[in-house]
Symmetry: C2
Subunit: 527 residues, 2 copies
């Protein structure tokens, strides 16, 4: 029987708080004991990646406390309940089914009178068939020309995740000769965003993928109109250039304004939708359906692993719990995500949404205020770029910022250059290894300005190469990490009520129904 | 006489700490008192922007305490000393002269036997003449073709600032018909970065701008070699395609490997170098020297304002002091930078470096540990995108994150669409006004999940449009803000010793001179 309790009501809470400052990372990571930790503190994340936590501030006692927390909070039971189709998104009274887009890890789930796995697979197949026809030149523009560019129009989860995934695989697909079409993304309601994208493409040979679950997202509909205007100005018929990704009940679902419509539903939150048609249509167009299927397989592998109740064998749950220890026992307010891979350029922006929108909350799943801190601020940029930027603060600032590194042994394009006895790829990896150790152990110097205190914890996920499979596993790892943290904090990680007030006030501004400071600011901005 | 004292030694320190929680922002911003605050709490930032701080947690008592702090810490005296050429970067025993690249706000400064203002102006003139010759087709490739693309090769401050400025003005320049050449940027030592950029351009018609002050930055030299290989493979002579931006004493300065060399010096830190030739060459190539001159003029205007000792008339100093109040009295660890302008897409990444690398330090300018927190974590993405992402945490998370908004009344490309009675630009601005008020005042709801506590402070910088002048003012505002905060915290904001240890360890990894955990991680990464 699952009990949804606040974190502070658990025995494990005070046990964990009492372990504050337990591990001296500088000592733990020094000498041969450090090498031993690196060998021992590692968990495979399926066949493509490994999660290494040797440089985190944990030892067997902390890990045992995290295991006790996992058990007491029934983390894997809750995950299984989610997989089996229970109403986990209690606020909105919805199932949470994004894992079902990539595999069946629990019981068959029926909702709205259909088997949901079959529904998601069916939509994927529709997207695959559509993409294949576009690639084969069976679906073409008015002049009979093939489409060369796919342009996703969406915002938030309809933008950040799919965009990050596209960028992550773009060069891999080019290197592997599976690249089919360029993709571009229009998201911001700032009209310069859409205008700049349209200026940079051949509009006549572009296929637009309009993504809005509700079919009412104002930014997205505005950008759709912007694009339709542009198409008409070139004498093109928008209905021949546009598909919709939406829910079956949305106004977009059966409109003749679109070449085709692909469906998702209310059981998949925007930030969890990269493996649904929200990501599937644009990624299948860009790289082919087979690549998208491989991406899903990588995610499914991690989803399966996440069912393991042993924290030492469940990388997503372990990562989640170490994060909880850092947030609630150690008191760190932020986490930096630092991929040593240019392909993962925008992966931190996706994680920023995934994590902060899921767990940036002050009330528990029953609407009661919690008496502990919840989701941290997430930020990051790819290494080595970050090293020449904000790492100064990470090394020597007054606050400690836990870090989540990601690195790969090989690059994607396989072009490289040997300078001063090493390749660029080797330099990239050498910097990653060096940073982990510099943060963990620091270094005393007689000049205090050049001294490094160390004791700055990091984990690193290591793989061979950014491929569809490893990217899928990486995505699912973080989705599941965030889910487990939400379970510990007793939050509903699947709604986002915090975005509503701004929308209401913005409508009021546009209707000129304001007074006081809101009117004053609106006047300043000349609305 | 200037005294360099720790913040905690000042009388103003305890006075400010005692003002913790002084202002109830929800009440202050409600009704007509809110409108009054919006009218009163505003400072012009020269002719192009205004800094509004009505939605910050300040009142006249807090402002008086900030004025007392500014006076006691001698902030404008210290700024004047910097302008007059004193050795402000004490650790490295260097002058700090980036303001001199855009104007002469203090005494004539002589160093290395030359008048430094004349030196910077001279280099700008060289860059302008060079750019004019490229645009006029007087400097061409081996086949006599004009160059169409400029590619900056640099990392950290040689990348983030110039890239953010390029992106900020690219569409403006296209709209205003002053656009001359595309620019691209190669920064990461991940070889996929350079490879992808080279795959996307016509290499034969590209001019590469190699930027390294020391001429020894490993990432940059590695990317230079990568590019030279690519040029040679196409039968091109690298020396006909490359210019250097470096210091006069660097190995690059007088090399025949470059068409031309443009100089900066040790008195301009990387993150402060956008107005030197580090930004000047690529921006002059992209937009023409006149546009770059207008950008400098905007920055100079803000530099002049920053000399005013009255906090209520000095926007950079006021912004700095409010930040100090938020960090040291209110105890907030992060600041979000949120431009409502797609053009400022990468401006937050530049500010992240500027701020975190300058003030993310634990020792004062004499190398003694400080007993107060210093620079915050800085992160951000453009609005409205962020609203559909991490704003959930900003609205309803357990920690308060102060915000720095930026907004403009007009967009750059002047293309727009009217949907549901308003343009995209109006929607963008309406969202900005709405967010400020939603954060400040919140809203009670009987459903606690839909309740907003409010009390989340923000400032907003408002202008007409992102132009060279307003962008220059914006850049200088933040440079000066960071400088003033460094003065308050008694830091040396102009060195970055925190980046050194990682470099040393990375070299050791590449030389295979490691043991313990560093060797173990290196082995895992197959170096």
């Amino acid at each position: 029987m699952i009990a949804w309790k606040n974190f502070s009501e658990l025995k494990a809470y005070s046990r964990l708080k009492a372990l504050k400052g337990k591990v001296n990372l500088q000592e733990a990571m020094a000498g041969e004991s450090g090498a031993k930790r690196v060998a021992e503190y590692a968990v495979p994340m399926g066949g493509h990646l490994t999660y290494h936590y040797a440089a985190k501030q944990v030892d067997d006692e902390v890990l045992d406390a995290l295991q006790a927390l996992a058990d007491e909070a029934q983390l894997t039971d809750k995950y299984q309940a989610l997989l089996d189709g229970e109403v986990i998104n209690t606020g909105e009274k919805r199932l949470v089914l994004h894992q079902l887009t990539r595999g069946q890890q629990g019981k068959a789930v029926t909702a709205d009178g259909v088997d949901k796995r079959a529904f998601y697979v069916g939509e994927q197949r529709k997207a695959a068939e559509f993409a294949n026809k576009v690639h084969a030149g069976e679906i073409v523009n008015e002049k009979g020309e093939t489409f060369t560019t796919a342009v996703q129009i969406g915002i938030g989860g309809s933008d950040l995740g799919p965009r990050a995934m596209y960028l992550a695989l773009e060069n891999w697909a080019k290197a592997e000769k599976t690249f089919k079409m360029e993709a571009r993304f229009i998201s911001n309601v700032d009209p310069d965003d859409a205008a700049a994208v349209l200026n940079g493409i051949d509009v006549a040979r572009s296929l637009f993928v309009l993504v809005s679950k509700s079919g009412t997202t104002l930014e997205t509909l505005t950008n759709e109109s912007f694009v339709k205007d542009a198409l008409r100005k070139q004498g093109l018929d928008p209905a021949k250039h546009m598909v919709a990704v939406t829910s079956e009940t949305s106004p977009l679902a059966k409109s003749s304004d679109y070449l085709a419509a692909f469906f998702m539903d209310d059981y998949i939150g925007g930030r969890y939708s990269s493996t649904s048609c929200v990501g599937g249509v644009v990624l299948s167009l860009a790289f082919g359906p087979d690549v998208f299927a491989r991406f899903l397989a990588g995610a499914a592998e991690e989803d399966a692993l996440a069912k393991c109740p042993d924290v030492r064998k469940n990388p997503a749950m372990l990562d989640a719990l170490i994060g909880v220890y850092e947030r609630n026992a150690q008191g760190y307010p932020c986490t930096a995500v630092l991929p040593y891979s240019q392909a993962l350029n925008r992966f931190p922006a996706h994680l920023q949404q995934l994590d902060m929108e899921s767990n940036g909350k002050s009330v528990n799943r029953f609407g009661e205020p919690v008496d502990y801190v919840t989701g941290p601020v997430i930020f990051g940029e790819p290494g080595t770029n970050g090293q020449h930027s904000f790492y100064q603060l990470l090394h020597q600032g007054t606050d400690i910022v836990p870090m989540q590194f990601v690195g790969f042994r090989q690059n994607q394009l396989k072009t490289d250059v040997d300078i001063q006895g090493s390749t660029s790829q080797q330099k990239l990896c050498a910097n990653l290894a060096a940073q982990i150790m510099a943060f963990a152990c620091g270094k005393r110097d007689e000049n205090p300005n050049k001294s490094f205190a160390g004791g700055r914890p990091s984990s690193v996920i290591i793989g061979d190469r950014v491929t569809p499979e490893s990217l899928g596993a990486l995505l699912a790892h973080f989705e599941n990490k965030v889910m487990f943290q939400g379970f510990v904090w007793n939050l509903n990680s699947f709604d986002q009520e915090g975005v509503q007030l701004g929308k209401i006030l913005a409508k009021r501004v546009l209707a000129h129904e304001t007074d006081g400071a809101l009117k004053a600011f609106s006047d300043l901005l000349c609305i």
